[in-house]
């Protein structure tokens, strides 16, 4: 399979010819790029990427292999993986298998040795594209082009489907640390013992990353993870001290049940939302969201913390953003701004114990500059009379 041919076709008709890596086959999805230079494994396993084809802009990917501890979910969610050069060797004392093995095992179709910079520029100029990766013997750029471009155009639009239901937990469970074989605490978070005396957090799972659960647990809280369709009443039946709204894939407007639930909790419990959870909070309050041209996907975006005037270097992974004027009208103060494009990165309700951020304080991959948010959430939990 060393030089197996692979093709990437985009809905605009562009075709990239490269070599296959990982599983052979044909997969379609929305093509997005990620500019993180480390953390490909966290990206592969981030449920927010459900149904997407991810292109890494850094060119050497797979260098340190794959290990269980760095997984953000029990399986990868990225459907197809694109890089300039995938490494055939895993070199790390932490590696348990090579990236190629991992991708084969999880049927992730990969293509490399293509001009990923040209692809990135195309996505930047034209906005998100649907695409298809085909990899395997017998492919021919001339012969297969039209068929693959047509297939790319037939990929369902993510904003028309509810992708959350594909990634949320099927049943309620309490986070008790890493599953079998996946040791290691939260990346960068101080390790606190989980005490029975700690507060209880109900975490609504729209595609939650493990490092979020690790980070919540590291504050000393008991974390109960709930399916996305859990109702407000069901949440309140648990009598949690606070509610956490997770990240997740897709257009927030599709998750109407989640918006409903949040509406029912807003005045009853302190709430902290991240990414999709942030967008859903906005929608639940009557604010609006919109789709970004090509989204934010990386680990180097500067965010201004309005309260301190300081900059946080943040991990970002979203295609939708909250419209600031509507958020203000809905009773929010904007607390964080993206210094790249001026979009909303965080907000706090002016009256209710309710705040949310668009970016990822749990990082994984990415910098730990925003870890203070976990403590901030914890301090809100005291707001409610117990």
């Amino acid at each position: 399979m060393e030089h197996a041919k692979a093709l990437l076709a985009l809905e605009d008709g562009t075709l990239f010819e490269g070599e296959g890596f990982g599983a052979a086959g044909e997969v379609g999805g929305e093509v997005v790029f990620n500019t993180s230079m480390t953390g490909y494994q966290e990206i592969l396993t981030d449920p927010s990427y459900s149904g997407q084809l991810v292109a890494m802009t850094y060119t050497e990917i797979g260098n340190y292999g794959v290990n269980a501890a760095d997984a953000e979910a029990d399986k990868p969610h990225v459907r197809g993986f694109i890089a300039r050069e995938f490494s055939r060797r895993a070199s790390s004392h932490r590696a348990e298998m090579s990236l190629a093995e991992y991708m084969e095992r999880h049927a992730i179709v990969g293509i490399h040795r293509i001009d990923t910079r040209a692809l990135t520029r195309l996505l930047r100029e034209k906005g998100s594209q649907r695409g298809v990766i085909a990899s395997g013997p017998g492919l021919d750029a001339t012969r297969d082009r039209d068929r693959l471009v047509a297939a790319a155009r037939a990929v369902p639009d993510l904003s028309a489907i509810d992708t959350v239901l594909g990634v949320t937990t099927p049943r309620r469970y309490e986070w008790r640390g890493e599953p079998e074989g996946a040791g290691g605490g939260a990346s960068g978070a101080p390790g606190h013992a989980r005490g029975a005396a700690g507060p209880t957090i109900a975490a609504l799972d729209y595609g939650v990353k493990r490092n979020i659960l690790r980070s919540l647990a590291a504050t000393g809280a008991r974390v109960v993870v709930l399916p996305a369709k859990t109702t407000a009443e069901e949440v309140l039946d648990l009598d949690p001290d606070g509610v956490f709204l997770s990240n997740g894939p897709g257009d927030p407007r599709m998750a109407t049940y989640a918006i409903e639930t949040i509406r029912g909790l807003m005045e009853k419990r302190p709430i902290f939302g991240i990414c999709l959870g942030h967008q859903l909070t906005a929608l639940a309050s009557g604010a609006e969201t919109f789709k970004l041209k090509f989204g934010h996907h990386g680990a180097n975006h500067p965010v201004l913390n309005q309260a301190t005037g300081k900059i946080e270097i943040t991990t970002q992974n979203h295609n939708y953003a909250v419209e600031p004027e509507s958020a203000r009208r809905a009773g929010y103060a904007i607390t964080h701004w993206n210094l790249y494009d001026g979009t909303v990165e965080g907000m706090r309700h002016r009256e209710l114990p309710l705040f949310s951020v668009q970016y990822h304080p749990e990082a994984a991959p990415g910098p730990h500059d925003s870890h203070y948010l976990w403590g901030q959430f914890l301090s809100h939990l005291g707001v409610r009379d117990r």
Binding site: M37, Y58, R89, S92, P367
Partner: protein
């Protein structure tokens, strides 16, 4: 926070001469800082002794002091200028140490100068290893185990607890000076003594060895609001134990998981906060145990550094410029990223390419030097390459070194052809390779290839070298490609599109492919183009294409889909740079390239610059209109020409690198402008030049060319000993020797015949005891104007780059100067020089001899330009695009009223045990300049700036040859009058005694003990004057030279230099040292109506 308005005048201290460990990266950072601060409306006062820098161009600062960088001199400048603040973090270790000295002696407090960027406490915490250790421990950082020692006994106690191998690191030194690894107690004793001697405070740290661990660096920036960003991560391919300056390094880090990388990032942020670097850049080094992931902190540099220059070039994030802006109060979010224009500097650059830096060494110039790589840096320069992958960048990096190699071997230049070995030879070679790889050496990279070809596994090689398997696997892929092509070609296969494309993606050069296919380079190029395989030109943009980039900083890569540059409609000139610094081709040529760019930009041309040296100003992305960070090979220059279609290509400013390619470029259709490649060739070709010389009435020294020992004997009989001998077609004084007798000549001839059979050896009469003169001029086809004439202070036979020289000349008779001027002008016309020309003459016994003519930029151009206030390189660039000297208004030789002295700075103290012998082969790494109204002070300043202050009192040792014994008397008398005690060898002592001087007789080395060497070692000698002639005494002096170098005792080898020293000492004791800025010198010259344009014209 807006910029500070409570300050107006800022003092910047530069880094002084280029030395190993402190190169021209500080010109790059200092230049950026000057520009950034003046842009903000501050007045900048600059002190730097190095004339070859762009930062000392008079237009870069409001006041430019080319003065020695010592605390005393800087204090005078402070007293004169009264700056509000001092920015100490941009001038390397020299700048930092000087600032610390000024703070500690109370000078800064006395003149109320505030230190900005880093406070004295922060500098101390980072630089003093004991404070550093305590600070790191206080924030829970893991460090190698170890302790400090101030004596051998203390050191032995420490090593008793940590065991061997042990690392010895002296406090407060630069580039690892004095650092060593001891494997046993004997080595330990020796290295401890050296370490204690190297440390200015006689303190060493003895540490647990982390040899073989992985080495990483992070470049960190912090602003006054405590925002911190990581600009770049760097991973060393060479493991811990090899100085990072001697390592192949790669950006970004390749083998860290995100968890590991973030842990390192968290540590770096905690460290910069704890050290207390308020604003600006900081370089932090870590070691990671590949088996366990244990991470320890190795070192922190609280200033911009060689690595930060590399990081700036690797990412497009201008660290020094941002550091300067942060120092005056801005925060990161208030500064715009020049490249994207819309995003702020408060972000972390991301790369979508791989950067490889490879050091450049010059071991061949220092026979006998220990070539093993270790804790002390030995390289003199570096090349950087950008590629889509590590494989591509590495191969580009190797050919960027300009060592005659074109990639990872397979270029027809491999010293061993494996296919030609018999099985038993192959086994023996395998053993050889295996044992070689156990020790780090500069050429190990090529032995890694042999190891892979010989079938050693990645794991076996890792065990030998401690190089991470990821790098080795990539090397293996390159070797597999090589073998695939070899196999294909062996079965008669022609280059196919698939094969060529895959090879080019791995960075193979056309030269390598030509070798593997058994074809010529142009055939491969043609085949490749026919098959549509041409490079894409990509952009370095700090953001991996997430945003549109405006700064045109480009590199080539073979991924086939999209090229980002479009040739513009403007008139365009391509200027070829000088590649990595090496002895003989350094910052002076980069200075010339930058001036050419500036002049042509001013004239409305679009300037395109191609270079591979990350340390330079020329590779700053805002120096030229377009920058191509590419190797300077025929292939890669033609690629840029294809992409840009310039109307002219400039080869005469970048030193030998572009000159050597001039004929090939012209043959390939490149429009070379300025002096024609043919004229350049005439000047290099002895036979062709002889005819021209005769035509213009020049007198070469008696000479001949010999193919055999017999030829040589005949020529020697005709021209007479001593002789200057050198192989033809070798440049920069390589392998040039002076021979005094037939035996030495025969030995040389036999060696030369072996080394390059069929090439004649050039034999010249060596003009012993002559005056030598260097001249720089500019010419169009109508006239030639002299820029300056310099007289060497050292004896003839010492390479001009190693000689001190003075402008104007001070001991040359006017009629001889007239001959020199006339001949220079005539030869310029005869050669059709358009642009710069340098010539060297010697005067002996009333005869003016021509030694060399070089129709190109010379090493002295920046010195002459600074001395006279005439920007020669800028004028030359304008001539090359068709302007005339008359149009420019430069028609008269400038006649400065002040005296400028240039002194060379030598690297001998870096190389233990090397003979500090100066000869026809250049060995200096850098230069300094001293300026004063009088020769004595100018000379004294140059000596002080070069690091060898003149002794104001003490004991002078004098040993001169018979002929000089009479002439040395007045010098000795002056020394005695200056209260020096005199001692001398027997013959000299007799002469001095006869003249009525009190002198002590000292035995020569062969005359018993205690002899002169003992006195030197015991520190009883403060000044050495010897003028030996003849072979035996030269050999005799090696030990004295070594001893003098290691103890930094001034060592004078000519009477004229000795007289200069005396004048200097006398002037210093009479009037003391005055400081004056370059702007004042030039203004004084201009008011006298010299008629020459000043700098910036």
């Amino acid at each position: 926070m807006p910029k500070r308005t409570d300050i107006d005048k800022i003092l910047l201290i530069g880094s002084g001469p280029i030395i190993i460990g402190q190169g021209c990266e500080f010109d790059y950072s200092g230049t950026q800082a000057c520009k950034a601060l003046r842009e903000e409306g501050y007045r900048v006062v600059l002190v730097n002794s190095n004339p070859a820098t762009i930062m000392t161009d008079p237009e870069m600062a409001d006041r430019t002091y080319i003065e020695p960088i010592t605390p005393e001199v800087v204090e005078r400048i402070i007293a004169r200028e009264r700056p509000d603040v001092l920015l100490p973090t941009l001038g390397g270790q020299t700048g930092l140490n000087t600032a610390v000295a000024l703070a500690e002696s109370g000078v800064l407090a006395r003149y109320r100068v505030e230190m900005i960027g880093a406070k004295i406490e922060a500098i101390r915490k980072a630089e003093d290893r004991e404070l550093f250790k305590r600070a790191m421990e206080s924030i829970g950082m893991d460090l190698p185990r170890g302790a400090f020692a101030r004596s051998l006994d203390e050191a032995l106690a420490v090593v008793g607890s940590i065991g061997y191998p042990a690392i010895i690191r002296p406090s407060f030194t630069l580039g690892g000076t004095g650092g060593s690894i001891a494997y046993n107690i004997d080595e330990f004793r020796e290295f401890v003594a050296w370490g204690l001697a190297s440390s200015p405070i006689s303190e060493i740290l003895i540490e647990e060895s982390v040899l073989g661990w992985k080495e990483f660096e992070l470049e960190v920036m912090r602003d006054v609001k405590d925002n911190v960003v990581i600009v770049c991560s760097i991973e060393n391919m060479d493991p811990m134990g090899v100085h990072t300056g001697d390592s192949i390094t790669v950006a970004p880090a390749q083998t860290l998981t995100d968890r590991e990388y973030q842990a390192m990032r968290d540590a770096a942020i905690a460290i910069i906060r704890e050290i207390g670097v308020e604003t600006g850049g900081c370089n932090i080094q870590f070691a990671v145990d590949p088996k366990t992931g244990r991470m320890v902190v190795i070192e922190v540099n609280p200033r911009v550094s060689r690595s930060s220059a590399l990081a700036s070039k690797a990412t497009g994030f201008p660290i020094a410029k941002i550091a300067a802006k942060l120092a005056i109060g801005y925060t990161l979010d208030e500064i715009k990223n020049d490249i994207t224009r819309v995003t702020p500097a408060s972000f972390e650059p991301v790369l979508d390419y791989v950067v490889v830096k490879i050091p450049r060494w010059n071991f061949e110039k220092f026979p006998g030097v220990d070539e093993r790589l270790g804790l002390q840096m030995k390289s003199v320069g570096e090349a950087m390459a950008i590629g889509g992958t590590f494989k591509e960048a590495l191969q580009k990096g190797i050919r960027s070194l300009e060592i005659g190699r074109f990639g990872f071997g397979a270029d027809g230049r491999d010293p061993v052809d494996l296919a030609a070995l018999r099985p038993e030879e192959r086994d023996a070679f395998r053993d050889d390779v295996t044992s070689r790889l156990r020790t780090s050496r500069w050429d190990n990279i090529f032995y890694l290839r042999y190891a892979l070809l010989l079938g050693l596994s990645v794991e076996e090689i890792r065990d030998l070298t401690a190089i991470d398997p990821w790098f080795l696997e990539n090397l293996k892929e390159i070797v597999e490609m090589e073998e695939e092509i070899r196999l294909h070609a062996a079965s008669g296969g022609e280059p196919t599109r698939d094969l060529l494309l895959r090879a080019k993606r791995m960075g193979f050069a056309d030269v390598q492919l030509a070798h593997l296919f058994g074809k010529e380079e142009p055939e491969i190029r043609a085949a490749r183009k026919r098959l549509g395989i041409v490079p894409s030109m990509k952009t370095v943009d700090t953001c991996a294409a997430e945003f549109a980039a405006f700064t045109p900083y480009h590199y080539s890569t073979y991924d086939g889909k999209e090229t980002e540059v479009e040739p513009s409609e403007r008139r365009k000139i391509l200027i070829l740079g000088g590649g990595p610094n090496r002895i003989g081709q350094g910052i002076e040529f980069d200075y010339c390239c930058v001036h050419a760019v500036q002049a042509l930009r001013e004239q409305g041309f679009e300037t395109i610059l191609q270079n591979s040296n990350p340390e330079t100003v020329s590779t700053d992305y805002d120096t030229s209109d377009r920058l191509y960070f590419e190797p300077l090979t025929l292939e890669e220059i033609l690629n840029v020409i294809d992409a840009e279609r310039p109307e002219g290509v400039v080869v005469q400013f970048g030193g030998q690198t572009p000159l050597k390619l001039a004929l090939a470029l012209e043959a390939a259709g490149a429009p070379i402008i300025g002096t024609s490649p043919d004229s350049i060739d005439i000047a290099e070709d002895r036979g062709r030049f002889a005819a021209i010389a005769e035509k213009v009435g020049m007198t070469p020294p008696p000479n001949g060319a010999a193919l055999t020992v017999e030829d040589a004997r005949v020529i020697a009989a005709r021209v007479g000993f001593p002789l200057l001998v050198r192989p033809s077609y070798v440049l920069g004084g390589r392998a040039m020797r002076i021979v005094y007798d037939e035996m030495a000549l025969e030995e040389y001839m036999r060696h030369a015949a072996d080394a390059s059979p069929g090439h004649p050896v050039l034999i010249d009469r060596f003009l012993e005891d002559a005056y030598e003169v260097d001249i720089d001029a500019v010419a169009d086809r109508e006239r030639c104007v002299i820029g300056g004439i310099m007289q060497h202070i050292e004896e003839a036979g010492i390479h001009s780059g190693d000689s001190a020289c003075v402008l104007p000349t001070y001991l040359i008779r006017p009629e001889h100067l007239d001959i020199i001027r006339r001949q220079t002008k005539a030869v310029a016309m005869e050669l059709g020089v358009v642009g710069l020309m340098n010539a060297q003459f010697a005067i002996k016994d009333g005869v003016v001899y021509i030694l060399e003519v070089n129709p190109r930029a010379s090493r002295t151009v920046p010195f002459v330009s600074k001395a006279t206030g005439t920007p020669l390189a800028k004028i030359a660039a304008r001539l090359m695009v068709g302007q005339t000297l008359a149009e420019i208004g430069f028609t008269e030789e400038p006649k400065p009223r002040h005296i400028s002295v240039k002194e060379a700075v030598l690297p001998f103290s870096r190389f233990a045990g090397v003979d500090g012998f100066l000869g026809p082969e250049m060995k200096s790494t850098g230069e300094v300049m001293g300026i004063s109204p009088t020769f004595g002070i100018a000379f004294a300043k140059s000596q002080l700036a070069a690091g060898e202050g003149l002794p104001m009192a003490g004991t002078a040792f004098i040993s001169v040859n018979e002929r000089d014994q009479k002439n040395v008397v007045p010098i000795a008398r002056d020394l005695a009058a200056l209260k020096f005690d005199l001692c001398a060898t027997r013959g000299t002592a007799l002469a001095l005694d006869a003249a009525g001087l009190r002198v002590k007789t000292i035995p020569k080395l062969t005359e018993g003990r205690p002899n002169v060497l003992d006195l030197i070692v015991n520190g009883e000698i403060d000044l050495i004057i010897t003028t030996p002639l003849g072979k035996t005494s030269r050999a005799d002096d090696a030990a004295i030279r070594r001893a003098a170098i290691m103890r930094k005792i001034p060592f004078i080898t000519t009477l004229s230099a000795a007289a200069a020293v005396v004048l200097g000492v006398k002037a210093l004791s009479d009037s003391g040292m005055q400081v004056r800025s370059l702007q004042e010198y030039h203004a004084a010259a201009a008011t006298r109506g010299a008629g020459a344009p000043t700098h910036g014209a």
